[in-house]
C-alpha cells in the first residue's frame, strides 16, 4: 500500500506540471500583449514597459519563463499581481471561503443525493423513484447560473429567508450558494446511488444473504448498501476537488469573495500571475482528491489490489 501511494504520488507530478504549463502557456503565450492589458487605458512609457517586461520575464522564451515560475512555486512564491500584492496572500485569504463553500456543497450532495438515491433504488418503479428520476433530469438540464438565479429569486426575493449576496452572515450565507453549487453533483449522486443499489440488489450475494435468514434491513442496509456505496463515496470524494474548481460561476453569481471569484476578476483584468497561481492550485486540489479517493477505494473494496 505504501509503495502504491508513493508511486501514485510520483505519477501525479507530470500531470501537475503538464496542467500548470497548459495554463501558463494559455495565459502568457497566446496573442495579446500582457503589458498592454496590464496597463489598461493608461499610456506607458517605454522605460516602464521594459521594467515590467523584465519583472515578469516576458522576454525569456516561454519554457524559461515557466521554469522560473515553477522555481518560485517551489518556494511558495506565487508571484505578485499588478498592484504588487502577493498572489499567495490572495490565496491565503480566499481559500477558506471557497473551502467552506465546497464543504457546504459536499454535505448537501452527500445527504440529499444519497437519501434520494437509496430510497429510489430500493423501490424501483415506485412514485418516489420516478420523482427522483424526473427531478434529477431537470436539475441536470438547468445550467448552474440559471439555477442560481432561480434560487435567488425564490429564496431571496419571493420568500426572503436566505442571503443572496456576500458572506456577511457567516455559515448561513453559504447555504444557498452551497446548494446551487451542489445541485449538479447532487443529481448525479442520487442517480449513481439508485443505479448502483438496483444493480447490487440483483447480485448473487444478496440472494445468499436472504438465504441465510438475515433480516431484510440487514440484507439491504449491510450487504447491499456497503457494496453499492463504493462508487458513490469515491465519486463524492473526488468531487470535492472539482467543486472548488467549479465554484467560479457560483461565487460570481452570489458575490462570494472566494478563489473562483478571484479567478474571474483576474481573467477579466488579465492578471496572469493570479490566474495561473489559483488555477494551478485548483488542479492541485483536483489531483489531490483523486489520489485520496484512489486510496479510499482500496480501503473500501478488498478486491482491489495495488501491488
Amino acid at each position: 500500500m505504501g509503495r502504491y501511494v508513493a508511486r501514485r504520488l510520483l505519477l501525479t507530478i507530470p500531470v501537475l506540471i503538464g496542467a500548470s504549463f497548459l495554463i501558463f502557456a494559455m495565459v502568457y503565450a497566446l496573442p495579446g500583449d500582457p503589458i498592454r492589458a496590464l496597463a489598461g487605458d493608461r499610456p506607458l512609457s517605454p522605460a516602464v514597459q521594459a521594467a515590467l517586461r523584465d519583472e515578469y520575464n516576458l522576454d525569456d522564451p516561454l519554457w524559461l519563463q515557466y521554469a522560473k515560475y515553477v522555481w518560485g512555486l517551489l518556494q511558495l512564491d506565487f508571484g505578485t499581481d499588478f498592484s504588487g500584492r502577493e498572489v499567495w496572500d490572495i490565496i491565503e485569504r480566499r481559500l477558506p471561503v471557497t473551502a467552506k463553500l465546497a464543504l457546504a456543497a459536499v454535505i448537501f450532495e452527500a445527504l440529499i443525493g444519497l437519501a434520494a438515491g437509496i430510497l429510489a433504488g430500493i423501490r424501483r418503479g415506485s412514485f418516489f423513484d420516478n420523482l427522483v428520476l424526473v427531478t434529477t433530469t431537470l436539475i441536470v438540464s438547468i445550467p448552474v447560473f440559471v439555477l442560481g438565479f432561480v434560487a435567488q429569486y425564490l429564496f431571496g426575493l419571493r420568500i426572503p429567508i436566505f442571503p443572496t449576496s456576500g458572506i456577511r452572515d457567516g455559515w448561513y450565507s453559504y447555504l444557498l450558494p452551497g446548494l446551487v453549487l451542489a445541485s449538479l453533483s447532487l443529481a448525479y449522486v442520487a442517480r449513481l446511488t439508485r443505479t448502483s443499489l438496483a444493480e447490487n440488489l440483483r447480485q448473487d450475494y444478496v440472494r445468499t444473504a436472504r438465504a441465510k435468514g438475515l433480516k431484510p434491513s440487514v440484507v439491504i442496509g449491510k450487504h447491499t448498501l456497503r457494496n453499492s456505496l463504493i462508487p458513490v463515496v469515491t465519486f463524492i470524494g473526488a468531487d470535492i476537488g472539482a467543486l472548488m474548481g467549479g465554484a467560479i460561476v457560483t461565487e460570481t453569481i452570489f458575490n462570494i469573495p472566494g478563489l473562483g471569484r478571484a479567478v474571474y476578476d483576474a481573467v477579466l483584468r488579465q492578471e496572469g500571475a493570479v490566474v495561473v497561481g489559483i488555477v494551478t492550485l485548483f488542479v492541485f486540489f483536483y489531483i489531490f482528491f483523486n489520489l485520496v479517493v484512489d486510496i479510499l477505494y482500496a480501503l473500501l473494496d478488498p478486491r482491489i489490489r495495488y501491488d
Binding site: G18, L30, S141, I142, V146, L184, T195, V267, Q270, V293
Partner: protein
C-alpha cells in the same frame, strides 16, 4: 451541466487492463468506474459483438425508444428547437433588432408575449433568434470533440504501449481543468470571440471523455477473433480500425455525444453569461441573461424566458441521450 463535472452517467470503464499504468491514471471518472456503475460498461460489452447482434441491438433499441415517453418528449422538444434555429421566421415575424427605448423592460403582454428587453426590443423574437447560436455551437463543438476523441482514442487503444501511456497522461492533464474554467481562460486571451472561437475553446477542454470511450472500445475488441482474422488476412490498419473496430464504439459514443451537446450548450451560455463568450451584437441566450442579470428584482422576465428556452434545449438532448442509453443497454430496462 454548467460547471462541468464528468458525468457519471457517461463514464466508461477503462477497459485498459493492458497498460499497467492504467491503475495510476488520475481522473475522477475512474473512481466510480471500477465497478462499472453506470450503463456504459455493459453497453460496450453488448456492442462488442459481431454484426448480427449489432443489427438486433439497434432494432431492439428503436422498438423500446418508440415506447419511451421521455424520448418522445425529448424528440419533440428537439425538433422544435432545431426548426427554431434554422427558420426563426416560422416562429415570429417581428424583427428582433427593431427596438424602441420607450418600451424598455416592459413586462409580457398580449402584444409582446415575452415583453421587451432593456433596449425595448421584442423579447420573444430575440429569444427565438437566440436558438441558432446555441444549437450551432452545441453541434459544432460536439463534432470537434468527437473528431479528436475518435482520432486520439483509436491511436491510444490500437497501438497501446508508450503511445497509449503518453496520450493517457495528456488526457489526464486536460481533465485537470474543468470545461468552464479552461474555456474561460482560453477565451479570455483570444482577441476575437465568435461562434468559432467559443466552439474551439469548448473542443479544447471537452474532448477527453469521448477519447476514453473510443479507447476502451478499441482495447476491448482489438483482440477479438474477427479482428485478428482481418489482420491475418492482411487488411491495413486503417481499414481494420474503421471497418471492424470503430463500429463497436458507435452506441456508447452516440449516447455520450447526445447528452454532451446539452452540456456544451449550457457551457456556452455560461461563458457568454460570464462575459467571456459571445459578444454583442450576436443574439444569444447567454447574452440576454447577462444583460438582465441586475434586473432580477424589477424585470425577472428578462432572465426567465431565455433561461427557460436554454434549459429546455439542454433538457431535450439529455432526455434523448438517457432514453438512448436505456434502449441500448437492455440490462437496465
Amino acid at each position: 451541466m454548467t460547471e462541468h463535472r464528468s458525468d457519471p452517467a457517461l463514464r466508461t470503464k477503462d477497459a485498459g487492463g493492458s497498460d499497467p499504468l492504467d491503475r495510476e491514471v488520475i481522473h475522477r471518472d475512474e473512481a466510480a468506474d471500477r465497478t462499472g456503475d453506470w450503463a456504459e460498461t455493459t453497453l460496450e460489452a453488448k456492442a462488442a459483438g459481431p454484426d448480427i447482434e449489432e443489427a438486433s441491438l439497434w432494432s431492439d433499441a428503436w422498438r423500446s425508444l418508440r415506447k419511451n415517453p421521455f424520448f418522445i418528449v425529448g424528440a419533440l422538444l428537439l425538433a422544435v428547437f432545431l426548426v427554431m434555429a434554422v427558420f426563426p421566421q416560422l416562429f415570429t415575424d417581428v424583427d428582433p433588432r427593431e427596438c424602441d427605448l420607450a418600451r424598455s423592460a416592459e413586462g409580457p403582454s398580449a402584444a409582446a408575449w415575452f415583453g421587451y428587453d432593456v433596449q425595448g426590443c421584442d423579447y420573444y423574437a430575440n429569444v427565438v433568434y437566440g436558438a441558432r447560436v446555441s444549437v450551432t455551437i452545441g453541434f459544432l463543438a460536439m463534432l470537434g470533440t468527437l473528431a479528436i476523441g475518435v482520432l486520439v482514442g483509436s491511436l491510444a487503444g490500437y497501438y497501446g504501449g508508450w503511445i497509449d501511456s503518453v496520450l493517457a497522461r495528456i488526457t489526464d492533464i486536460f481533465y485537470g481543468l474543468p470545461l468552464i474554467l479552461g474555456a474561460f481562460i482560453l477565451l479570455s486571451v483570444l482577441p476575437e470571440r465568435g461562434v468559432v472561437e467559443v466552439s474551439l475553446a469548448l473542443i479544447v477542454f471537452g474532448w477527453m471523455t469521448s477519447m476514453r470511450l473510443v479507447r476502451s472500445t478499441v482495447v476491448s475488441v482489438k483482440e477479438a477473433d474477427y479482428v485478428q482474422a482481418a489482420r491475418a488476412l492482411g487488411a491495413p490498419t486503417r481499414r481494420i480500425l474503421v471497418r471492424h473496430i470503430l463500429p463497436n464504439a458507435i452506441a456508447p459514443v452516440l449516447v455520450y455525444s447526445t447528452i454532451f451537446i446539452g452540456t456544451l450548450i449550457a457551457a456556452e451560455a455560461t461563458l457568454t453569461f460570464l462575459g467571456i463568450g459571445l459578444q454583442l451584437p450576436e443574439i444569444s441566450w447567454g447574452l440576454q441573461i447577462n444583460s438582465a442579470q441586475n434586473r432580477l428584482r424589477d424585470a425577472a422576465h428578462l432572465i426567465f424566458f431565455p433561461s427557460l428556452f436554454l434549459s429546455l434545449t439542454v433538457l431535450s438532448f439529455i432526455l434523448i441521450g438517457d432514453a438512448l442509453r436505456d434502449a441500448l443497454d437492455p440490462k437496465l430496462r
